[in-house]
Structures are given as C-alpha cells and as structure tokens.
Amino acid sequence: MNQNNIASPLNHDEKKILVVDDEPDILTYLTVLMENNGYQTFQALNAVEAMQKITEIKPDLITLDIMMPKKSGIAFYRELKLNQQTLDIPVIFISAFSMARDFMGPGFRKLIPDMDIPEPEAFIEKPVDIPRLLEMINKILG
C-alpha cells in the first residue's frame, strides 16, 4: 500500500516537522509516513513536551492533535500564536473531530474569539487521507 508515497522524492532540504499527539501509535504512524517522504520528524506526547521541543529544534511545521491530556491542542495553539518566537510556525490540526468547520472559519472564532490569533493553516480529519496530507505539507513548506 501507498508505495507511491513511500517512494516519492525525498529531498525536502530536511525540513523539520514536529508531530504532537497523545497516542503513541499515531505518533509512530505520522513520523514514519513523513520520514518516508523526506522530512525530518520529532515527536511530542503532550503540549509541555511540545513546547520544549519547539525551543530546541525550531520546527518548520507542527501537526497538532486537539484532544490531549494536561493541555488541549486548542490551548496550546493559542499559546503558540501569542508568543513572538513561535508565532510564525505553521500548524496543521490532525484530529478525529469530524467537522472541519468547527475548527476553521467562523467555528474557529467561536472557539478562540481573540482576533489576534490567526486561523491554522489546515485541518485534517483522522483517519488521515495520506495524499491530501502530503500535498498540504508540501504546499505549506514550499
């Protein structure tokens, strides 16, 4: 399965992607997938860990789960976008919530009314449509 993805061109100038998810299986899946596609990946099981990693590695992109213990992806995202150091890092939400509209456009504003905080780059629903995810990453990272 997905031979074409695994075999796709591997040169992305070693762009760094931080994968944040509280489920180890999903972390493994996403990092293997991204590494097969030529990205350098890092893992974080929760928001606290993610913040440490961001300072260390300065990722080019973050994929972020929403439902996580200790701090939700939404709370973490708000923190990220209010911090000058991390403000510009693009974020793709990857969540099992089925309604993209709850997290994009007007729905997003209900969740985060603070207009200083921009909408995320993308929202992808679990289980992930791999070609779409890869296309999205490719587009964001140029």
């Binding site: 489920e23 493994t28 899946y29 709370a75």
Partner: protein, 600 residues
C-alpha cells in the same frame, strides 16, 4: 209622677250624665250651674268665675269665645287648653251655645267641653310617624293621584300633589306592571313589590313598596296608602357583595389548583372543578356530605389539631376515588376571623404534568447523551481506524525496508487498536443498556462509598497516591440502583487516580466525600491531579473521548456516570482548574430518587 215632673226629672238626668262637662255662665262669667262631670273634672265651681276655674286668672281671657257668643248669639266650637282640678293642663274641645230669652237677650251661655288630650297625643304621634318615617308615604286616590304625602317624599320629589304616583316614582306615563296599589284598590288587601325608579336627579333608585287600604272594611277602597322604602343603598351593597362573591367564586371555579374548604366541623363546603377532576368526585357528592379529612394529607389534620394555622408540603400525595395516589404540592390553612374559627381550606397543585415533564426532560437529555455518544463514538473509532491504518503502513514500511523493528512496531499497533475496538464495544454496550436494567433498592450510601474506597486502596498505593474517605455519618438509606451508583463512583475515582498519575506533580491525593445538604445526597470525588483546561471541560460531558492517552480508556465512563445520575433524578457537576485538580460532584435530591423496583 206627673208628666211635667217626669220631663224635668229626665232633663235633669240627661244634664248630669251626658259625657261632657257642662257649665252655664252669665254675662259676668259667673258659673251659675254645672253638671256632675264638670265638678269631677274641674272641682268646686260655686261662686267662681269661669276664668278662675279654667285658667286660674282673675280677669277674663283675651279672645274669650263666650264673650263673642254673648255678643253675636252664634254657636262656636274651639279647642282650648284648660287646667283641671289637679292643676294640670289638658286639651278640650269646647262648644259654646247661647241661651236666648224671649225678648232676644242672651243672659247665659252653655259651655260643653270634652277632654281630647289623648286624641291630641295620638294625632301628634301619627303626624310624626307619617312625616318622619324613613320612607316615602303617599295617599293615593283611585286615579292614582297623590292626595297626601309625607315630609321625606316632599324633600325628594317636591310637593307633587295631584300628580300620578308612577309619574313621580318612575317617570312613566302609565301605571307600572304588577302595581301593588292597583291590587289594593281591587281587593283591599295589603300588597308588596320591589320596584326600581328614577329620582328627580335622574339616578336609579330601588324601592320596597307596601300598599294598604285606608278604609277598614271596604273591598274597593277609595284611598290607598303607599309606603315606598328606598333600598337603593342596600341594593347597591347587595349588588357589590354579589359581584364580589361572583368574582371570588369564578376565581375559585377557574383555578388550576384544586381547592377544598370545610366548616369548623370539617364538613366540606366548597369543592371546585379542579378538585372534582383531581379526586374524581362530583362536588354534589362531597359538599355537606364528606369530611375534609378524607382528602387532605394527615400532616394538615395534625396542624389543625395542634391549633396551628398553616401547613405547606412541597411534595405530598392526594388519594383519589380510585385509591390512586397523585403527586401534589399541598397548602392548607385554618380560616379565622379574629378569634373565631371559620373552618379550613386546602389547596392542591397537581404535579403529574410537571413530573411527566421532568421525566420527559431527563429522557430527552438521555437521548441527547446517546446522540452525543454516537458522535463521540465516531471520534474514538476514527482514532482506532487511524491506528489500524498506521499499523499496516508501518508494518509495510518495515517490510519494504527490511526493518524488522518497524515491522514489529506495526504489528504491535495493529494489536493495540484491535484491543481498543473490543473495549469500545464493551463500554458502549454498557452505556447503551439504558433504563431497562435499573434495579432500585434501599441503599446505605455510606456503605456503598466505603466499598468503592476499599476497591481502590491497593491500586492507589501502588501508584503512590493517597486515597481518603470523608463520609458523613447517619445518612439515611436512599432508593438507588446499588450496582449503577457503584459504577459511577468507580468511574470517577478511577478517573481521579488517572488524573493524579498523569500529573507532573507527586503526592497525588484522591478524596471521596459523602454528605447530605437540604435533603440532597452529595458524592464528591476530588483529585489534585492534572486538572482539565477549559476546552476539555467544555467537552467533557458532550463528547465521547478520552484524554488518557494510549489505550487506557474509551471516555465512555463519564457518560455512563451521567446517564446513571440522571436516571436517579440527580445531576453531575464539575469544578476543575488546570494543574490543580478537579472535583466531580454527583447530587441526588431525595425527593427525585426513583421508586423501589417492585419484586417480581
């Protein structure tokens, strides 16, 4: 006896016995002769002048009627006040008759007087009565014309003599229907009637009219006396009283609440339509036939017996004719006017509709929870699907790159997620069981809490977490499904232990509290674990998810807990502060707990 002697004797007898006081006076006012009656009335007369006797004067009276008769020879009648022999003054009708001699001179005048003091008094009484009686009095002739009237009539209607009574009283041009005066003119009997009319200011007046014949025996009297009593004020009061009565009656009649009132002996005097509906009795079957005791809760009878005034029961039962028990809110009051005991009144608010609405609301909430759970289930399943996808992808990737670690990891992922699927199925079935399995018995809440604590002591110890029980004593047994509430507490305590394990801090503490406040049993599970931030809190009860990472939970626990709590008429609340911990609270108002499950 000779003829002349007999005549003299008869004349003499007549003179002495006639029922009149007779005196004969000469031109100098000497009394020259008087009869026996005169002497008895005025005393000794011989040698006295008439003004000496009658007025106790020494000179003749001014305007002396005797003097006038001496002067013109005419007979006269006058009414005079005279002193009797006891010196008190009385009224007399006095006739003066001249005695004329053959030569035309008038040497004497006969004076005949009769005491009319009593008549005079009666006359005066009659006049006062006629004029001052507080009603309109008129005397009517057969043409219905007013020939006499009293003072009160004149004050209201003016003189009006010669006018017809119906013109005056009712501004009509024809006699009224059922005129009592016409009836009296016909049969001579007394008649009464109620009439309304218009006074001279154009205001409506009400009369109570009595008519009576003025002749004693005639069948068709020539005159009728008509007495009209103005009852306008009474009528207005009566009308106002009626209005007020009607107003209150319609309030009671149309009240949604059932209202029963009783006299001091407890006999029902009022039973409104709502009460008829609630108790399934007709008012006729109850009023003056049954005692209020049969309808009101015993608490109210106690209140009456103890001499208290009021009884309020937020929730009570009314038993209807078919011995069915209806939930009601009850209010009873002992009615008093000053110290006088007037009876009692009872008000019942039928709670069946409200109960049904409460039940429907809980049911709707349960269905909504099911809906949310299905949506949540999709969330969980999608994670599992992604895990399975991932397992296959990672395994394939390992195989393609001859990386046995990766292959092994992929296999492990497949196993994990298949396990999770069976966990979901089990939990979901548990949740979906719904109400059918509820088995309510009388449960000791303290015992139940103690058992849950015992269950977790070992687990908590191993994880380095302290588990404490703070249980109030003497909490009375309550109607609960033991297993179900046990499940709730297990879910909450297990969540709390997980929260402590996941916390970055050491020294986790979980407290299970039990207390009762205002007839509400409260279980509280507190932890000082990781807490939940706002977004999660918002979602806790609305979505099916687990924050526990890996394959530890399905997130259905809280939803199951909520369902069970609601089935017990209770509610679940949450206080949570990020990284400080959470308090989950289950509140069960006693009055909303389910009835005991009947044994098969």
């Amino acid at each position: 006896m000779q003829k002349t002697d007999l005549r003299d004797w008869l004349h003499n007898e007549l003179f002495e016995r006639v029922p009149s006081n007779i005196a004969i006076i000469d031109r100098e006012y000497h009394i020259v002769e008087a009869n026996k009656n005169f002497k008895e009335t005025f005393g000794e007369w011989q040698g006295k002048l008439c003004h000496n006797i009658f007025r106790n004067r020494n000179t003749p009276c001014s305007s002396c009627k005797a003097e006038q008769t001496f002067h013109d020879g005419q007979s006269r009648v006058s009414e005079e006040s005279r002193l009797n022999r006891h010196g008190s003054s009385s009224y007399y009708v006095v006739h003066f008759e001249p005695i004329i001699s053959p030569n035309g001179e008038i040497p004497y005048v006969i004076e005949m007087s009769r005491d009319v003091t009593e008549n005079k008094r009666l006359q005066r009484e009659h006049d006062i009565l006629f004029d001052r009686v507080p009603c309109y009095v008129t005397v009517l002739d057969r043409g219905m014309k007013i020939v006499r009237n009293n003072e009160m009539f004149r004050k209201t209607f003016g003189e009006s003599l010669g006018k017809k009574c119906y013109e005056i009283y009712r501004q009509r041009i024809q006699p009224c229907d059922n005129c009592p005066a016409i009836k009296t003119f016909t049969d001579g009997q007394v008649h009464t009637a109620h009439k309304s009319g218009v006074n001279k200011n154009g205001e409506t007046i009400f009369y109570h009219v009595t008519t009576s014949s003025l002749s004693r025996s005639e069948k068709s009297p020539t005159h009728v006396i008509e007495m009209s009593l103005d009852i306008t004020e009474t009528r207005q009061l009566e009308m106002r009283l009626n209005e007020s009565h009607d107003f209150q009656a319609s309030l009671i009649e149309s009240a949604i609440d059932s209202i029963i009132a009783a006299d001091p002996d407890g006999l029902v005097t009022l039973f409104n339509p709502s009460a008829e509906k609630l108790f399934n009795y007709n008012a006729d079957e109850v009023i003056n036939r049954k005692k209020i005791d049969q309808f009101v809760p015993p608490d109210f009878i106690d209140v009456i017996t103890k001499g208290e005034n009021r009884c309020l029961l937020a929730e009570s039962k009314a038993r209807n004719r078919d011995k069915q028990s209806v939930p009601v809110r009850f209010s009873g009051v002992v009615l008093k006017s000053g110290k006088k005991h007037l009876g009692s009144a009872a008000f019942f608010q039928d709670l069946r509709e409200i109960k049904k609405m409460e039940h429907d609301k809980l049911e709707a909430e349960r269905l909504a929870a099911v809906g949310q759970t299905v949506a949540g289930l999709a969330h969980g399943i999608k994670n599992v699907l992604m895990g399975l996808d991932g397992g296959m992808y990672v395994m394939q990737s390992g195989m393609n790159n001859s990386n046995s670690d990766l292959t092994h990891r992929g296999w492990e992922m497949l196993q994990n997620n298949i396990e999770r699927i069976s966990l979901y199925v089990k939990d979901f079935l548990n949740f979906a069981k719904g109400k059918t399995s509820i088995n309510v018995t009388s449960v000791d809440p303290g015992l139940l809490a103690r058992e849950v604590i015992d269950l977790f002591t070992t687990v908590a110890d191993k994880a380095g977490i302290t588990i404490q029980a703070e249980l109030s004593d003497n909490i009375a047994p309550a109607n609960m499904d033991y297993e179900a509430i046990h499940t709730c507490l297990v879910n909450l305590v297990s969540n709390a232990i997980d929260a402590c394990e996941m916390s970055e801090k050491d020294g986790g503490v979980v407290i299970l509290r039990l207390f009762e406040d205002k007839q509400t049993i409260v279980f509280e599970v507190c932890d000082n674990g990781c807490g939940m931030d706002y977004e999660i809190k918002k979602k806790v009860f609305t979505t099916f998810f687990s924050t526990k990472g890996s394959a530890k939970g399905t997130g259905l626990g809280l939803l199951v807990t909520r369902r069970i709590t609601q089935e017990h008429g209770g509610r679940i609340t949450l206080e949570s502060t990020e990284s400080e911990g959470s308090i989950f609270r289950l509140e069960f108002p006693r009055k909303r707990l389910p009835p005991l499950t009947e044994m098969a």
